[in-house]
């Protein structure tokens, strides 16, 4: 699968005098899992907001499957650290939220929500309100809500950032399973280098002032990955290289 799904050409974004995103070009292959790491404030979320169409870039263009989508919305799945589940809807109704917000929710939408929830371990919670769920379960529901939009590209902005270490590990493995099953393309922001390496095929390293991609690293670690991966010499080496990029300046 070497088809390009997403292509950015010379995208820039300023807030007043500050350049949040310096000229950025990249292309993302269909079906790949690309992690973006970088310190807080380096423009990772800004990059996502431009891709999602929430922000119009000051320059450059965004193409999805060859089609120009710069500044337009409605073409990606999008998930944040905050689960953004609405407390007044059940799990099932939260999963079908995108449909509700764009058209009438059909019985097919509901059936799919139930199928996905059942398949990925939340079948017993379909009629629960979000308040009854743990943090990890809530993020799963948020991810399912993103999944059933049927967008080929999923933008995940530090989705597990608020979870405890154990839950986060579970969620990472869970996410890899869903990604394998569904064949979506994932862009995944994190500031956790371990997480970026554990999940991705490719790591983009960003640096601040001005925000830009300073390294584009292919992740050769074999799949499926497990606890062993975290102690693999190749993993350690890549990790130290990225740590250097993040904390030790250039090269």
């Amino acid at each position: 699968m070497e088809n390009t799904l997403l292509e950015l050409r010379g995208v820039t974004k300023r807030f007043g005098d500050a350049t949040a995103l310096a000229e950025t070009s990249l292309s993302i292959h269909e079906g790949s899992f690309v992690a973006i790491v970088g310190p807080s404030g380096c423009g990772k979320s800004t990059l996502f907001n431009v891709i999602a169409g929430l922000l119009a870039p000051d320059g450059g263009e965004v193409r999805l499957q060859g089609e120009l989508v710069t500044g337009a919305t409605g073409h990606v799945g999008y998930m944040l650290q905050k689960d953004l589940l609405v407390p007044w809807r059940t799990v099932e109704d939260n999963i079908t939220m995108a449909a509700r917000l764009t058209r009438r929710v059909t019985s097919a939408d509901r059936a799919e929500a139930r199928r996905v929830a059942t398949e990925y371990g939340l079948g017993d919670f379909l009629r629960h309100y979000p308040r009854a769920l743990s943090g990890g379960m809530r993020q799963r529901v948020a991810f399912m809500r993103t999944l059933v939009t049927h967008q080929p590209l999923l933008l995940l902005d530090e989705p597990f950032g608020a979870l405890d270490a154990q839950t986060r590990l579970d969620m990472q493995q869970w996410l890899l399973q869903v990604w394998r099953d569904t064949g979506r393309t994932v862009l995944f922001i994190t500031h956790d280098v371990d997480e970026s390496l554990f999940l991705s095929d490719r790591v983009l390293v960003m640096s601040p002032r001005p925000g830009r991609v300073v390294a584009d690293i292919t992740n050769p670690l074999a799949r499926p990955r497990d606890m062993e991966t975290l102690t693999d010499p190749a993993f350690i080496e890549l990790k130290s290289r990225i740590m250097h990029l993040l904390h030790g300046g250039a090269s």
């Binding site: 073409h75 007044w88 059940t90 059942t118 079948g123 017993d124 629960h128 309100y129």
Partner: protein
Amino acid sequence: MTRKLLRNVGVPVLSLLLLLALWQGIVVGFNVAPYVAPRPWEAILSVTQNWSTIWPLALGTIRETVYGFLIGALLGVFLGVVMAKIPVLQRSVYPVLVLSQAVPIIALASPLVLILGFSITPKIVIVAWIVFFPVTVNVVDGLSHVDPDLINLARVYGAPRWRTFVHIEMPATTTPLFSGLKIGATYAVTGAVIGELAASEGSSLALYQEHANSNLNAAAVYGTTMVMTAIGISWFLLVVATEVAATPWQRRSVARHYPWRRARSEASAATSIVSSLSKGES
């Protein structure tokens, strides 16, 4: 369940009884003359004995309270939504609304009766005048505090603004909306009574009380006050009950089975069975 019922109903009833006991204690203890302040029991008796006179009057007050409240609530929501959505209106209309509440409502009642006559209309206007304001303030506040990330999420999905409003912004404002409605409900009956007092003609609960007052019939004065208070409390409780019914997610972990959703519930029960079966295998 019974414990909860005991706490939710028993405790308020108990404090009410204590209040009556305190009243009785003071009146008896200080030997207060019956034409100054009656015993609670006399006040209650004066209501029950004159029930056939009082009930139609109370019905009038209830009607004014309810109509005024509903109109005020609708107006309040409408103004709140419009002001939250149109910043120019918020800046220009908000001060006028504050002004409307600074005018002493009693000073407003007589001119309103002059303009609108001795009908039910001026009373409804006064009640609505009082009720709309807390509703508007809370709706504006609620709408402007909806999580912007949630609204952005809807935008990412490509949601049109009206759907975002219906499915995200309005439900997110439920709690402040009901806060406004509850405040309005508390004051509604006061507005109705002020309106009745301002209209010196016709028959009404407030005028019945005035009449009792000029006859030095303290039992009837206090009894009528109790009726008015009961109307106010009942209406408040009805609003609270509506809130409870409208916001099951605030108390329940699992959604209730609604008959009109039975088909869906059965389907989800089926998937639960499937999932528990597949779990059993692994």
